[in-house]
């Protein structure tokens, strides 16, 4: 097997539970594990789908992968090297190599910057001169299926789907080989979800981009991923190719997730109440 591009080794992330003043003095403050021992190896060129509910730790894991958060324990390796040990130029190569696409395009794009400026800044950050960056803009937009007319617009003047394409273009502008996309389609209409998911698939096929696609929707993820990891309570409870995870799920939690996907008329007959009973109770 080729060397994994990105590797997570027994990642832990714990947060101290903030209690009231008295509890803090009288009792030991309890820790909560957001990520509880996750190991993953992502080979180059793979689309890996990470599925799970809110609070399962998948977004925390995403932030650890791109270096926005440091793990409490464990190691992230990029091209075989522990990212915590990287310095100078090696650290910059990692930072550039692993980019993130966010769910909420309202808060992840600066509302006061025109699209041109947002993208130019990313291209300049990659090391291009302003002239080179200006030349790089049209092909960058073409890659994500946007018209150059949009460069003059502000984020609020774009549709949700267009904003998400800008978010992807900004990540691509840095020249990454890994894209970590955290719920990139969950705030979009069904008719637009497909467009964004297909764009990610095209980028994977055409540029060989490695993608970690995080979503709570198995139906979306199973469509384009080579491998799926199902996450629950900070752990990956099941992992495998989509066909196996969907049609021969081993973990009860995976079965719950599968049962929860809306099936329209079919589940109307099967009676949806049954789903509620098997669902794992949330944290309140």
């Amino acid at each position: 097997m080729t060397q994994p591009l990105l590797e997570l080794c027994d990642i832990q992330k714990t947060y101290a539970l903030r209690r009231g003043l008295i509890e803090r003095f009288t009792r030991k403050v309890a820790d909560v594990a957001a990520v509880d021992g996750v190991s993953l190896a992502i080979p180059p060129g793979e689309i890996f789908g990470l599925v799970g509910e809110s609070g399962c730790g998948k977004s925390t894991l995403a932030q650890i992968m791109v270096g926005l958060l440091a793990p409490s324990d464990g190691m992230v390796r990029y091209r075989g090297q522990d990212i915590a040990m990287l310095t100078g130029v090696h650290r910059r190569i990692y930072r550039r190599g692993v980019q993130m696409v966010f769910q909420d395009t309202h808060s992840s794009l600066n509302p006061r910057k025109r699209i041109r400026r947002t993208l130019m800044e990313a291209l300049v950050a990659r090391g291009l001169t302003r002239a080179e960056a200006a030349d790089a803009l049209p092909p960058l937009l073409a890659q994500v299926g946007l018209d150059t007319v949009l460069l003059q617009r502000l984020p609020h003047e774009l549709s949700g789907g267009q904003r998400q394409r800008v978010g992807i273009a900004r990540a691509l502008a840095i020249g990454p080989d890994v894209l970590v996309a955290d719920e990139p389609v969950s705030s979009l209409d069904v008719s637009l979800q497909g467009q964004i998911v297909n764009l990610l698939r095209d980028l994977n096929r055409e540029l060989g981009l490695t993608i970690i696609l995080i979503s709570h929707d198995l139906a979306v993820v199973s469509r384009i991923c080579h491998r799926i990891g199902v996450m629950s309570a900070g752990r990956i409870v099941e992992e495998g190719p989509p066909a196996e995870v969907l049609f021969a799920p081993r973990h009860p939690y995976t079965r719950t997730l599968i049962a929860a996907v809306p099936r329209g008329l079919e589940s109307r007959r099967a009676q949806s109440v049954a789903i509620a009973e098997v669902c794992i109770a949330g944290p309140m």
């Binding site: 069904v190 008719s191 497909g194 199973s222 997730l257 809306p262 008329l265 109307r268 949806s272 949330g282």
Partner: protein
């Protein structure tokens, strides 16, 4: 079921703008909901489905107004001034996509329900508390007595939506308007909320207007479905008919791109292009530029209405 619908919307137009520049975002919606019936309203963002609901409740945002048409609830014209305020929260309940912004952050959730019960039904404190507990039980909140004391921010998204629903049905409304109630939730929590809504409907016999962009979800609970595009209802049918024999190409294309767990891989089916922008609706059929079945008449003439019993589609292709 009597012939008189509980809610009747006739030729509703909602316009956005200021002074002399007004653009219609809702362009002539007709809708009927009978007692105890669950009607789905489906469409993409910007199709006017939420505006239709907000117009019914008299909660249109600033800069929007009902420019023509009528909304009649049990014989009462809701577009007349001062009418809808009396019904809202009493005979018409509503739940929204974002329960956090709809609940008061500074008051325990139980208090919000008991306040509503004491105001509308003039219940005493003890009676109101008992009733609030029963409501929490109905919407599937475990340990209701404890949860009544919680604040909105202490609850999960699914729990907040349950609280919202308890609040919405507290005064035994005849109609519940649910605007994308599960869009912000995880699929597993969504399934729980859908089961909860189904239970509420069966136990209270309440009529529901269920608004969503997910057809599969709509099919789980609705008796009839209206599909909206660019401010108009383009197809309307009983749910089995709509899924079995959709006549409008938009409905067909929308059905095709709804994500399913069918083991299919490869590119997802999509609808090319975007819905028309406000004030830039093309002549003829507004869906024609994105339609896979359009022909020359579609871009030239406003489409005619195809009918077969209760099944309706506004489409030249259906009429061919």
């Amino acid at each position: 079921m009597t012939d008189d619908p509980l809610l009747r919307i006739d030729g509703l137009h909602v316009a956005f703008g200021e002074r002399s520049r007004w653009h219609d975002a809702v362009r002539g919606v007709d809708l009927r909901i009978h007692r105890g019936e669950v009607v789905g309203l489906v469409g993409e963002s910007g199709s006017g489905k939420s505006l239709t609901a907000l117009a019914v409740m008299g909660l249109l945002p600033r800069g929007a107004k009902v420019s023509s048409g009528r909304v009649v609830f049990d014989g009462i014209d809701l577009t007349a001034p001062g009418k809808v305020e009396r019904l809202r929260g009493a005979r018409i309940g509503m739940i929204f996509q974002d329960p956090l912004s709809a609940l008061n952050p500074a008051i325990p959730v139980g208090r919000q329900i008991t306040d509503s019960l004491r105001t509308h039904q003039r219940l005493g404190a003890a009676d109101a508390r008992d009733r609030a507990e029963a409501l929490f039980d109905l919407v599937g909140i475990a340990r209701p007595r404890e949860r009544l004391r919680a604040y909105a921010h202490e609850l999960s998204g699914g729990m907040r939506q349950r609280v919202m629903t308890a609040l919405a049905v507290a005064n035994d409304p005849e109609l519940l308007i649910a605007d994308e109630p599960t869009t912000a939730l995880d699929v597993t929590v969504q399934a729980q909320v859908m089961a909860m809504l189904d239970r509420v409907r069966r136990e209270l016999g309440i009529a529901i207007l269920f608004i969503s962009h997910n057809l599969e979800l709509v099919a789980e609970v609705c008796d009839r479905v209206s599909v909206m595009y660019a401010g108009r209802v383009v197809e309307e049918a009983a749910v089995e008919t709509l899924f079995g024999r959709p006549r409008h190409p938009y409905t067909r294309q929308l059905l095709r791109c709804t994500p399913r767990l069918d083991g299919e891989t490869g590119p997802m089916p999509t609808i090319p292009g975007l819905p028309p922008r406000l004030g830039a609706v093309p002549p003829g059929c507004p869906f024609a530029p994105r339609c896979d079945a359009a022909f020359d008449r579609c871009t030239a003439e406003t489409p005619g209405i195809w009918r077969e019993g209760p099944h309706m589609a506004v489409c030249w292709e259906a009429l061919r």
